[in-house]
Symmetry: C2
């Protein structure tokens, strides 16, 4: 089974990113070049697509939540730049291209990550016009909490201090719900908040996002092990080589696949309780479980 991904949204996101991101002509050029290099490294823009799909589900216009959608991609990209650094994961390749620090140096890469993170909040605070000020504040809170010590950074740190000889399901779940899950949830919630979803609807899409995020990370772990160089844009088996804690490692490959399928089933069941056209969110769930990269 192959599920169609909303490439029309990806195209809109790419255009918007290009428009929002400061020009490479600005001084100091090397900083803006490094930011653009990492932001336009390809990729399916999964988090921005989630923001837009969630907003569309609750009847927003596709352009309205665009600054927030792009800001989340800035945050995702910044986290990849810092995670790839030699003192952290020490990755030379990302999506088939040399990582930011391989091209621009470690010092510039640290700063390019910092700059993207700052620009994310600037973008939302300056340009997110749809939604009242209090809704926009709620979105900023989502992004900050999802990327902070109680979210992404906390997950990354546990990932760093855990090696595969001390691995258990609790640890791997903590890492993944924080490192990946929390920002995916923020994407889904932000779109819903800006579109004016009710608090009950917000709770339901949050639950959907929890299941979706977990399934997304499990399939990521699986793909890292079984994917090809061509599919991954980097050598397969990188997690194993780096002694990364993964779901297949902890529960075995078959059990990991089964768990991912169950999470997707739960995500879709949650959608059934929302009295809107949830087709877009449903198809994204199907995409996660059938994707090959």
């Amino acid at each position: 089974m192959s599920v169609e991904y909303p490439n029309d949204l990806v195209e809109k996101v790419d255009q918007a990113l290009d428009g929002f991101l400061p020009s490479e002509e600005i001084y100091p050029q090397v900083l803006y070049k490094a930011m653009r290099y990492s932001l336009f490294a390809g990729g399916k823009r999964f988090r921005p697509v989630l923001v837009l799909s969630s907003a569309l589900t609750f009847d927003a216009d596709v352009e309205a939540p665009m600054p927030t959608a792009c800001a989340i991609e800035y945050i995702h990209t910044y986290s990849l730049i810092h995670d790839d650094l030699p003192p952290v994961d020490d990755d030379d390749y990302r999506r088939g291209r040399p990582t930011c620090h391989k091209v621009f140096g470690v010092d510039i890469a640290i700063m390019a990550g910092d700059a993207l993170f700052a620009e994310a909040f600037s973008l939302v605070a300056r340009l997110q016009k749809a939604g009242s000020s209090s809704k926009i504040l709620a979105v900023i809170r989502e992004l900050a909490e999802a990327s902070g010590p109680g979210g992404m950074v906390g997950g990354q740190v546990v990932d760093m201090i855990s090696t595969d000889d001390q691995v258990d399901l609790e640890t791997v779940t903590f890492i993944h719900t924080h490192k990946t899950g929390r920002l995916i949830k923020a994407a889904v919630r932000s779109g819903a908040i800006l579109a004016g979803a009710s608090s009950n609807e917000l709770e339901l899409v949050s639950l959907y996002a929890d299941h979706l995020g977990l399934a997304f990370q499990i399939t990521d772990d699986i793909l890292d092990e079984v994917g090809t160089l061509d599919e991954l844009g980097k050598a397969p088996g990188a997690d194993k080589k780096q002694h990364k804690v993964t779901f297949p490692l902890v529960m075995g490959m078959e059990e990991a696949k089964k768990t991912a399928e169950e999470e997707i089933k739960k995500a879709k069941m949650t959608l059934e309780d929302i009295r809107r056209d949830t087709g877009r969110l449903e198809r994204l769930a199907d995409f996660v479980i059938t994707r090959s990269s």
Copy 2:
């Protein structure tokens, strides 16, 4: 001449920081320990004191802008952690103590910086209650722009790529207005915004902050050269050793001192046009020009 620094405000800021910052008992503890270690390394809390002093000038309560005041200290601390890293300035000591990465490792230090930056926005978005939502959004915009590529990070990058054999006054001014000046300006502006200063008053305190920030950085450069180990908490002459671009280097020590004095004079002249009790801001200007550390 020695000018009294508002230590009563420093005490309130330290208490608030302790209350806002997540406990070291939270998992993963090493992350929260590293955040606290760097945040409680001493220091005069100059930026939070500016937020509070500016807010008090426009009749706010001292507690009202406290989340914003503390958030700016988070941002300042995060920038110090990242600037001290081996791939950047490679500093072993800061305020007389080993730098964050010397104690916790480079990987944790990168993440502790990232975590403090995220927490800064979380703090303002969650807890900054005084001021309407649109004023709080304006403050978030100040913080994000001051710390991003058009502010602090941009200044740091120019600092990194400039060495003393290619130094000119334009470059050193760019570095300092961006790396230090922009956040000092954001501190002064944020306090005024939250307190409801008029747009004319906001313009005037911004001008005050521009002059103050420049004088602050020039005196910092001067102190780095003439201060003692005890005053600086690190070896004097560090800038020279690192081939840092400084004002004394570009314009000579005497001219640098004269320029700092002139900037302080201009800062105080600007205050004369504000029809409020500007005594607090005036004393801070006097402090900057007379401080020995």
